[in-house]
């Protein structure tokens, strides 16, 4: 199942890229499509963050991960590079679990 997901994502993402380079612009250049395409990553990423940080299975949980996310916000406000943001989020959550 995992391999199927890997292949589906790989082939699908490639076809989405190829379509962009191949399709005449008129269809997708409509304003509504632009808006949706602009907002879709925002909604998905935000949903991913919420689920990733505040849930375990089917339960809502507040734990060390939320501290990690808060520290990530601070790192981003300080314009830290990607790897630093990820690292301090992990480090702070691990430290909270130690105490």
């Amino acid at each position: 199942m995992m391999w199927a997901a890997v292949l589906v994502t790989g082939v699908g993402c490639y076809l989405l890229k190829l379509a962009g380079l191949s399709v005449p612009g008129a269809v997708l250049e409509r304003l509504v499509m632009q808006r949706v395409a602009d907002l879709l990553p925002v909604g998905l990423l935000s949903g991913l963050i919420a689920v990733q940080v505040l849930s375990t299975g089917a339960e809502l949980v507040v734990d060390a991960r939320l501290v990690g996310l808060a520290v990530a916000v601070v790192a981003l406000l300080l314009r830290a590079p990607f790897i630093v943001v990820v690292f301090v989020a992990a480090l702070s959550a691990a430290l909270v679990r130690l105490v």
Binding site: L18, G20, V67
Partner: protein
């Protein structure tokens, strides 16, 4: 690296080396991102081979992170794949923008399509000539593909050596990674509202649906807001007036 006969004058050496230098810089920056992807993917339960296959075949960071994030939190691989595909639609719009600029046909376009992502778009849309746009696209694409995949392997091996992901806060790292991807998109007020609404809807669905569904519903919120706004304001004065770069690349070059 000139992939096609070109009607415009060739690039001079100085510009060429400047573009290649920039491309290497972008590649190295995303290499760091590839390290975290590799480590988190293995921590999320994928094998090293699956992790490497994702970077080789999918080659668009946000989609890859979405897939492993959903699988790590107990969602089905296919709902992870679906979320990854939805995030991948953004590359289609990049193609509409850079396609006419690059002007490739046939096998060149077929190959070039694989590298159509945030960074290559950012490194080619701002060029004044087709030769420079192609140079930016190809050099960034090659640098990224090589470094991204190398970094994935190294990260995956390191992730496996580390062991229990929770002890090192790696589960919290995934949230941090998604936030870093979202961050550059939060400048516009409308995007902030959608982000909050999507998070609330996703959390509301967590207790009552199977894993994977809440995230897809969060994407649905974005689609609804995008569509409804269009209907309620039929005569928008300028195309994407409040968000001039709508549908385009992020200046940070991150996915």
């Amino acid at each position: 690296m000139n992939l096609a006969p070109d009607p415009e004058p060739a690039l001079d050496r100085a510009e060429r080396s400047r573009i290649v230098r920039d491309a290497l810089g972008v590649g190295i920056a995303s290499g760091a991102y590839g390290l975290s992807f590799g480590a988190l993917s293995v921590a999320g339960g994928l094998s090293i081979a699956q992790t490497c296959a994702l970077s080789l075949l999918v080659f668009t960071g946000a989609s890859q992170f979405a897939l492993i994030g959903i699988v790590a939190s107990g969602g089905s691989p296919l709902s992870g794949a679906l979320t990854g595909l939805l995030l991948g639609t953004r590359n289609t719009l990049y193609g509409l923008r850079v396609g006419p600029l690059l002007g490739w046909r046939g096998w060149r376009r077929t190959v070039a399509a694989h590298a159509l992502i945030d960074e290559t778009t950012a490194m080619s849309v701002n060029r004044s000539t087709r030769a420079a746009a192609r140079m930016g696209y190809v050099s960034t694409g090659v640098a990224l593909f090589v470094l991204w995949n190398l970094a994935t392997v190294v990260g995956a091996l390191a992730g496996e050596a580390v062991g229990d992901p929770r002890a090192y806060g790696l589960d919290a790292a995934v949230g941090g990674a998604f936030l870093a991807l979202l961050w550059p998109r939060l400048a516009a007020r409308r995007n902030q509202l959608v982000a909050v609404l999507a998070a609330v809807v996703a959390l509301g669905l967590v207790p009552v649906t199977t894993a994977g569904v809440p995230v897809l519903a969060a994407g649905g919120v974005a689609v609804l807001v995008g569509a409804v706004r269009q209907r309620s304001i039929p005569d928008e004065p300028t195309l994407g007036g409040e968000d001039p770069d709508s549908g385009g690349h992020e200046s940070g070059g991150r996915e």
